[in-house]
């Protein structure tokens, strides 16, 4: 293996990891915002996320024969997924979490796990009504085309497809939009106030329940959009395929510092790169002296995420961008 090949692989990891990382980041934002206001791991977020993917499948396959610009189809799928997933998330909060407000922390956590399992089978049932389980997503024309050159420079070594670029651009727009929303609007200020101290924010005239609902709406909508991106990137999903990406997105949120929005993005990117690198690392086994790398199967990349989680909680429990807190007695 010469230096050229190593460089090419690393470049592909950089770009592939970026598109995976922003996907994790979008989903991680849903976890981190909910955690910020409720200190709850919303396990059901992985199903809210995959609901978006199923909506994308329905829109894309429904419009498959229709002569329509691919980007309009994507816009429709994105809007539908954001609406459905956002409302689903609000509904979950209203029915399952709000009655438990004020209970000890593990009670809503266990409830969230239960909601996640119930939703998995409800989705399976709804998809099953159409006689399906594994869904294969038809992409709009041209989305899977490879990009070989930009401004005359040959970039075919990057293995980039149009959909990867769409994914990165949409995610970047969403992150900028969310940043504006949280830091520069009244709603954003209210969300931050509730996250900081729910009781005092109530005294300042903020309706905490309404803000929590809105946070679930925003987080769910982001999750739904993440689902559309997931469907576009992998083109295959079923009612259960939200669990593992959801878990990793949560890992990303913890990695960056839970409750911290830039942290979630950083965590997602780190995780995306780590996972993509682990997926191809066995290729480096042919380099003299690094033969042991050849034993790392691509399947072990999932382990990398969890080991990274344990490591970060062990070394820097507050996450990469989180502030350390001391325990009050």
């Amino acid at each position: 293996m010469d230096l050229q090949t190593v460089g090419n692989i690393l470049l592909q990891v950089l770009v592939g990891g970026l598109s995976l990382g922003v996907l994790y980041a979008i989903v991680a934002l849903g976890y981190t915002m909910v955690y910020g206001v409720l200190q709850l791991i919303n396990f059901a977020h992985s199903e809210v996320f995959i609901t978006g993917g199923i909506i994308a499948y329905l829109v894309f396959s429904g419009l498959q024969g229709v002569a329509m610009n691919g980007y309009v189809k994507l816009l429709l799928a994105g809007l539908a997924a954001m609406a459905v997933s956002g409302l689903l998330n609000v509904l979950i909060e209203r029915l399952a979490y709000r009655p438990l407000r004020g209970a000890q922390r593990l009670v809503p956590l266990i409830t969230a796990i239960g909601v996640s399992l119930v939703l998995q089978d409800l989705l399976r049932f709804l998809v099953g009504l159409r006689g399906q389980f594994d869904l294969s997503v038809p992409l709009p024309q041209g989305f899977a085309n490879p990009i070989t050159s930009v401004l005359g420079i040959n970039i075919s070594v990057l293995n980039l497809q149009v959909k990867d670029v769409i994914l990165i651009v949409v995610a970047a727009l969403m992150l900028v939009g969310l940043n504006l929303l949280v830091n520069h609007t009244r709603l954003g200020r209210a969300i931050r106030a509730v996250a900081h101290d729910r009781q005092t924010s109530g005294l300042m005239g903020i309706d905490a329940n309404r803000i929590i609902s809105l946070t679930f709406l925003i987080g769910g909508a982001l999750g739904g959009l993440g689902g559309v991106m997931f469907a576009m990137k992998y083109q295959a999903l079923n009612a259960y395929s939200g669990t593992v990406p959801g878990l990793k997105a949560f890992t990303a949120a913890v990695l960056g510092g839970i409750g911290n929005i830039p942290g979630a993005v950083l965590g997602g990117l780190v995780l995306g790169w780590l996972e993509t690198l682990l997926g191809v690392i066995s290729l480096f086994g042919s380099i003299p002296g690094l033969a042991w790398l050849g034993a790392i199967k691509a399947e072990y990349k999932d382990i990398g995420a969890f080991l990274a989680l344990i490591l970060i909680l062990f070394l820097k429990p507050a996450g990469l961008l989180g502030k350390a807190t001391t325990e009050k007695v």
Binding site: R101, R105, I110, G114, I303
Partner: protein
Amino acid sequence: MTSLSASPRGLGGDRTLALLAYTAVTALLLIFMRGFVADGPARLLAPVLFGAFLLSLLFAYQWRAAGWAKTLVFAVGIGFVLPFMGRDNTSYFDLVIQMLIFAALALGLNIVVGLAGLLDLGYIAFFAVGAYLWGVFGSPQLGAVTGNPVFANGVNPNLFWLFIPLGVLAAALVGVLIGLPVLKLKGDYLAIVTLGLGEVVRIFANNLDVTNGPQGITPIESAPVPWLNTLAQNLGFSEDQYRLFFLYFLVLVVIAVVILVNYRLDRSKIGRAWVAIREDEIAAQAMGVPLLRTKLLAFATGASFAGAMGVIFAAKQNFIDPKSFDYFQSIGVLSMVILGGMGNIAGVFLGAVVVTLLNLMVLPTLSEVLQQSFPNLNQNLDPSKYQRLIFGLVLVLMMLYRPEGLLPSARRKAEMHADEPAPDSLVTQNQLEGDTGSEVFSPGLSTMKENDRTGSER
């Protein structure tokens, strides 16, 4: 169901006659109706009859009745009715053994979650350790891995007896290894990390050569017990039921040990230390409870039950693959603990029986009846595939409406009703600061304060 929640002592009169009558009626119905409920839509009655009979064992435990009557009900139920049904229909045998295996798992998880208050979402990993330990050594897989023709059929099946304690040791060791790095974490962080580690174990099982990857391992031996086989033969069991006959009694013995250990631990110094940690870690530490060691002990003890049952599970199934050990199985065991009532042995047992009955009898029966009635039914709507729904509904409904479980332990019940006299209980009023006006309590779940990210060992 009111009798489930009512105190056995608060019911007043003696119920010996009622117990005997109920047991006799349900047992006779189960036995004599078995032909009637064997096929057609009447099959839907089979789980009802079986469940009604199993309830008599619960009543024998709960009701106030003469000791001889209770003993009689247990002896006849466990010694005669269940094996009789098993002889008639092997699936009953399979189901009962599976219930007992899950009950042991739930009792192990009960120590970790119910007593020590550590939410472990990767518990099934310890079960996998036991199952793969015997799965590899007790099958041709050992010959394939070592390349040694001596082990072409695995080790001597008699070593099964040795592998049960080995499974306990191996699982406890893995429990300590996993526990050491993660037990510093608290609450939801511990939950997510244990979930991740459980997945790591499954991913290894899915990819290593030793475990034969996703194809799994088969056939797995069980210990030869000629005298028991002769006994089974004389009792009219068919040859393919001998193994289940043996494992049924073995599981009963193991579960008796597990219950005894659970019971003794609950009332020991260690048990009180676990409860103290669950209620308030800092206070417990201040009282001289060594946090890490006590938590590790809870982890290892819970794991060891799962290890022993894993060995037996491998022998019973004759086949294991990584699918039996995925994340939602861990949640399944958790739902058993939550349904029955954390911290209470009878409650946890009840939870395991109910959830297993729902998953392995009610759902499959429903799907078979549906398929018979509607042969063209969409395969994707097959009820037997909707196990997650059961686990999920159990968790959500219990947390929302009855967080203390169907059969809460006396200590827990006292906590739930703090206004009533409860001389030997800790009254848990330590809610979140800033959260007021809530009526929801959850005894058995550790109390959390804001910003509890990691342990207090600094």
